[in-house]
Subunit: 366 residues, 4 copies
C-alpha cells in the first residue's frame, strides 16, 4: 500500500535508484484521452539532473518506455493500466560500494535497515530522489487531464532559498515560462540571482541549502475534495510531504494564519456573474476540505540536502564510530528540480478528486 497513491486515479511506483530500472503504473486513467507524450517529456526535462551548474551532473535521458495502456492506432488511453518504465543508464554503483557498511547522516540508510534488515546501498536504493521521475511522468498525465477537462493550470516556483525570499509573486498570472527564466526557477529575477549565488556559495563550501516551493492551481471548480479524512488539504499535505526532503506544508496563509484574527482571516463571500466568489483568498481555495473555486495556494519546505562534502560523524552497521566524507554527484540544493515534483503531486491529488467529484452526487440532484 506504501507505493500506491490515490483512490480512483491510482499511481504505483517501483524501482531502486540503481539496478534494472524504475517505473510507474497508472490505474484508473479514463479511456479516450490523448496520451500526452510532449507534456510528459517537458516535465521530465525540468526534473532531470544535469540541467546546469545548480544541479547534479548525473546524465540520464529519462525518456520513459511506454509499455501499455495506450491505443496503438489512435494514441488514446485505453482505460487499462498505463505502464512507463525508466532504465537506469548511468549508474556508477562503484561509488556506493563503501557506503554499504555505514549510515550516512540524515539519509535513509539506517532507517531502511532498521525496517527491512537490509538495504540496497547503491544510490540510496528506493529512498533515492530518482524515484520521483516516475511521479513526474504520472503527474504530467494527470495535469493533462485536468487541463483538457477543466482548463486547470498548476504552476510552482522556488519562493525561498537559504532564507532569500522572492518578492510577492502574482499568483493569478505566474506561468511556467516565467518560472523557467531563471535556472533556479524563481520568477523574481533579483531574488533568483541571489539564490543562485547562495547555492554556489554553499557548494563551494561543500555545504547545502534548503528552501520553499510555492504552488498554485488555478481554475479548480468548486466542490472537489471530501469531508473528514479526504479533505483536499489533507490529501495535498500527505502528497507533498511524501516528496523526499520535505519538512513542512502550508495551505493558504499557512503558519501566518495563526497570527491573524478571525475577522482578518475570514474570506467574505460575494456574488459575481452568478458565481459565488470570495473577496480575499486566505483560505487558499479550500474550505472544510473542499475547493471553493478560488485559486488553490500552498507551500512546501525542503530541508538542505543531506549529502554534504564535509567530514561527518557516523557509525557503521557494526556500531563502530567512523568519519564519513561524501563523494560523487549531488545537488547542493534540491529546490529547482523540486518544482515539477510539486506540480506532479498536486496534479495527482486533483485528478483523483476530479474523478471522485463525478460520483459524489446524483446528476442534477437536487
Amino acid at each position: 500500500m506504501s507505493n500506491t497513491f490515490g483512490h480512483v486515479f491510482r499511481v504505483t511506483t517501483f524501482g531502486e535508484s540503481h539496478g534494472g530500472g524504475l517505473g510507474v503504473i497508472v490505474d484508473g486513467c479514463p479511456a479516450g484521452h490523448p496520451f500526452p507524450h510532449a507534456r510528459i517529456a517537458a516535465q521530465l526535462a525540468r526534473r532531470r539532473p544535469g540541467q546546469g551548474r545548480l544541479t547534479s551532473p548525473r546524465q540520464e535521458a529519462d525518456a520513459p518506455t511506454l509499455l501499455s495502456g495506450v491505443h496503438s492506432e489512435s494514441g488514446l488511453t485505453l482505460g487499462t493500466p498505463i505502464a512507463m518504465i525508466f532504465a537506469n543508464k548511468d549508474a556508477r554503483s562503484r561509488h556506493y560500494d563503501d557506503l554499504a557498511r555505514l549510515y550516512r547522516p540524515s539519509h535513509a540508510d539506517y532507517t531502511y535497515e532498521a525496517r527491512y534488515g537490509l538495504r540496497e546501498a547503491a544510490g540510496g536504493g528506493r529512498a533515492s530522489a530518482r524515484e520521483t521521475v516516475a511521479r513526474v511522468a504520472a503527474g504530467a498525465l494527470a495535469e493533462d487531464l485536468l487541463a483538457a477537462l477543466h482548463g486547470i493550470e498548476i504552476v510552482a516556483w522556488v519562493d525561498e532559498v537559504a532564507g532569500i525570499r522572492a518578492a510577492a509573486v502574482d499568483e493569478e498570472a505566474v506561468s511556467r515560462d516565467m518560472v523557467d527564466e531563471a535556472e533556479v526557477r524563481c520568477p523574481d529575477s533579483a531574488a533568483a540571482a541571489a539564490m543562485s549565488a547562495a547555492i554556489d556559495a554553499a557548494r563551494q563550501g561543500g555545504d547545502t541549502v534548503g528552501g520553499v516551493v510555492r504552488c498554485v492551481a488555478r481554475r479548480v471548480p468548486a466542490g472537489w475534495g471530501a469531508p473528514v479524512f479526504g479533505k483536499l488539504s489533507a490529501d495535498l499535505a500527505g502528497a507533498l510531504m511524501s516528496l523526499p526532503a520535505t519538512r513542512a506544508f502550508e495551505i493558504g496563509e499557512g503558519m501566518a494564519a495563526t497570527r491573524l484574527r478571525g475577522s482578518e482571516h475570514n474570506d467574505p463571500f460575494y456574488a459575481e456573474g452568478g458565481r459565488v466568489r470570495t473577496r480575499t483568498n486566505h483560505s487558499g481555495g479550500i474550505q472544510g476540505g473542499i475547493s471553493n473555486g478560488e485559486t488553490i495556494r500552498l507551500a512546501v519546505a525542503f530541508k538542505p540536502v543531506a549529502t554534504i562534502f564535509k567530514p561527518q560523524e557516523t557509525v557503521t552497521r557494526e556500531g563502530e564510530s567512523v568519519t564519513f566524507q561524501a563523494k560523487g554527484r549531488h545537488d547542493p540544493c534540491v529546490l529547482p528540480r523540486a518544482v515539477p515534483m510539486v506540480e506532479a503531486m498536486v496534479a495527482l491529488v486533483l485528478c483523483d478528486h476530479m474523478l471522485r467529484a463525478r460520483i459524489a452526487r446524483i446528476e442534477g440532484a437536487p
Copy 2:
C-alpha cells in the same frame, strides 16, 4: 473512502453534528487487548466543550456507547470491528434555521453545497468539529495499544496562541499533567496566562484567534514508516491536516529547516549501548519516511475560528448579498481542545504503522 483512515488499523467515522448521533468503527484492532474505557474517557474529557471559560459552553457527556468488538466476559478486544457511538443530546437546531439559506464565511457551507447540492445546516453537519469526538475515542484506543506494546508516550501541547509563544518546552520530559495545569494547555505557565488573556480579549471583541499545537511521540522504535507514499511524515501530515481548521504541518525543524545549512541540519549518528542514536534530532525522529528511534516531533497550525461575532459580508444560496451576524455557542480559540485531537491522529498513524512494521520482513531475516 473519504471517511476511513488507515490501512490495517482502519478507522471509519460517521455522523453529522446534529441528528441521530456520531460514531466510529475501528476495524483491524488486534484481538486480546483490554479495551481501555478509562483512557478513552480521559481523552474525551479533554476534548469536550464546556471545560471552562475558554471553550464553548455546549454541554455533552460524550460518553460513547460501545456496540461491538469487545468480549463480554473478559473485556478484551475480539479482533472484530469495534463500534462506538455518541448520541447528539444537546442539539439546538433552531439556532441554525436561518443559517440554511446563507453561506457563513470561511465555513464549509458553500463548498458542501457545491459538492453535494445540499447540506445539513444544523451545526455544520458533517463539517462540524464535533466529528472529532469519534477520532479522539479511536485514537485513545490506538495509543493504549502503543503504550502497552512499546511504552510509547504521545504528548501534545499548545505552543503558540495569537503570536504568543511558549518558552522552549523540554520535549523529553513534558507530560499530559504538565500540559493540563493551565486551562489553555500550554506547559509554560507565563505564556499560558498571556494566551488566556489573548483569548479572552478576542472573545470580548467578538473575535477569534489561532495558534500552534506541538506534539511529541517518545519511544517509537526504529523502523516504522514506509518508503515513498507511505512515509511516516507523509501519513502524519495527511492525518493532522485532516483536522478542522488546520493550515500547516511541520516535522522536525519544519520551516526553520529551510534556513539551516546541511552541515547544521544533519543529525550525526553515534552508538549508545548497542543502539544507533543521533546527536541532534533536527529530523524529528524520521529519516527517509521511517522512524529512527528518536523522539518524533511535529507541529500543527490552526487558523482563528471562523465563527466571529462581528457583521460579515456574504451571499445567500440564491446569490443575494447579505450581512451575516453569528449567534450561539462557539469557542473563540480551538487550540486547548485541539490537543487531544492532535494526539489522537498521531496515535492512529503510529498504530497503523506498528502493525505494518510487523509484516515488513521475514522474522529474523536477514
Copy 3:
C-alpha cells in the same frame, strides 16, 4: 479491511449477534437520492427470522435506527456516511453459556479461536448470520439507486432444496411477488410444496437441508465491470461467497458450461434497434468480466445448516472429547431467508460498478 465491501460505494458492517447491536456504514452513496425507508423495511422483512414455520422463531423487529447521512428536511442522501444500527433485542445469552467451552461442528467456533485466541460465544458472535441484517439494509439502498437510475431489477429465488429442483423459471419475467407466493420462496408452486415438505421432514428428524438460490439482474447496461481482478463475475463471486453457509457460485451456465462445446456455448451477436444483443445468454450477461447488456444470471449454493438436533462428536477448548447436542432456535434450512441476502450482495456489487463505470472514460470519448 475484512469488514468493508466495495471500492467507491463502500459498505462496512460491524457487530456481534448478541451485545449492544449491529450496524452498517455506507460511505460513498451519492448525494441527492431519496432515502428508501420502505424498500429497506421490505427487504428486512423478507430476511427476518420468525416469518413462518420454516424459519427460526427468534423475534426481532429489525427496524434500523438511522443515525446519519440523510438530510433532515428533504430526506435526501447527504453524500456523507449513512449509518444504520440494529439493537439486539431478543438476545437470550444464557442459551449459549455452555457453548463457550466446546466447538460446535462445522461452525466458526474453533476457527475464530484459532485466529483471535478468544471468541464471543453468544449467538456465534460475529460469525452469526444475524450480521446479514446489515448487508440487507445496505443492499436495499443500493438497489434503490440502481432502480432509480437505470431501472434495474434484481430478483432471486429458491431454485433447489434438498435435491428438489424448480421447473425452469422464466428469468425475464420472474418477480419478487411471484417468489414470495410460497413461504419457501420458490416460484414453482409444485416444487415449493415439495421443498416445504422436505424442510419439515428434516426438522422433524432434527436435521437440516441445503439448496440453491438463483438470481437475475435485468437491465444492467453494457459496460459495467472491469478487466482482470475487477471482473463483474469475480466481484459477484467474492460477494456471494461471503454470505454464511455458501459453498458454490455459478455465473451463466456455471458448471454445466464445462460440458458444452464452444460452438454450443458461444452467444452469437446480432443488432436489434441499434443495440448489440446476443441470441443466447449462456454467458450470463457478462463477457470478459464486463456486462454486455443481457440479463445477469447467477446461482449460489448453500450447505445444510450446521446446527442439527442430533448428538455430535466434538472437543472442548481443553481438547476433551465430548458429545454435543444443540438446543435453541435455528432454521432447518437457510434458503428462504437467503433470497434477500443474495439480492443485497448483487445490488452492492452492481452499485459499486455503476459508479465506477461513470469514471471509466472521458465523456463522449472517443
Copy 4:
C-alpha cells in the same frame, strides 16, 4: 483498483497482449526472502503456450525481466516493490487487423468497447489470457513464501474435460510431478488419455471444450481468513473467478453439499496430538471463512474456449450483420495451462492472509 489484488501482499498487473509488454508489481512482499527465480521459471514453463499439441503454438520465452525489489548482492527481497516485466516477442498483430471492426462472440471485444469506447484489438488487448503470465510469476513468489514459512503445498490438476472425469484423486498425496505426467495435467492416466482424445477431437472439428480444475492447499495453519467480507472462501472465489473463462467456483463439497443433510455434511471434531482435527473434511478446510488446519479443497470450472474455427454470426462496430471465421493460433482447451494459474491465484490469496493473520491478535494473547 481493478488491476490490483490483495490487501497487504498486493499484486498489480498491467499490459496488453500485444504492444510493449506486460508485467506485475508485487508490493508488500516481506524483506529477507530469497527471490525464487527457479520456482517462477518452473511455473511459467507450465503456463507457457506451445508446450505440446494440446496448447496454442504461440512461442514466447516468457522469461521475466526483474527490474526492482531484490538485493543486488544477496538476492533477498528488499521489502520494496518487486517488478517483473515480460516483453511481447511473438506478436503477429496483422492477424488481428480485421478483428478490429467486429465483435467475436463470447469474447470481450464488445464489452470493452461498451465500457471504454475503444479497445486494443490485437490479441484481445488487456482481456487476453496472456495477462495471466504476470499472475503466475507473482503467484510463484507467493507460494515460495508459503512453502518456506509454513511448508504449504498447493497442487492443482485437471479433474474433468468435456464431461470426462478423473477417478478420485488422493488429495493428501497428489503432487505436481504426478499431475505433469500427462500433458493434459490429469493425474488419472486413463482419464488423461480420454481427455486428450476429446481435446484432439474437438480441435479437429474446429471446436473447443471446457472442464474443471481442482486444487488443494495442504498444511495451511488454522486461523487464516477473516470474518464477513474477508472470508478465505470469499477471497478464493473472487480470485479464481477473476481468471479468464471461469464459470463456477466450489469450496469443499461445493454444489454437492446442497444435497447432503446437516448430519452428513458436518465435520466432527476430535483431538489428535494436542491439535484439533476434523474426522471428515466436507468443509474444505474453511469454517466461518477461516481455515481450520485441514486441507483446503476447491474447484474451478472453465468454459469451452470462445475462439472456434466454425463460422459464427456476429455484428460489426457499425451494427452490420456478418459471419465471423476465426484464424490463427488458439488452444482448443484451456485446462492444462490453467493449472498453474489456479495455483497462482490460490497462493496469492493465502500469502495475503498469512500476513494478515500475523497482525490479527496481540502476540500471546489471551
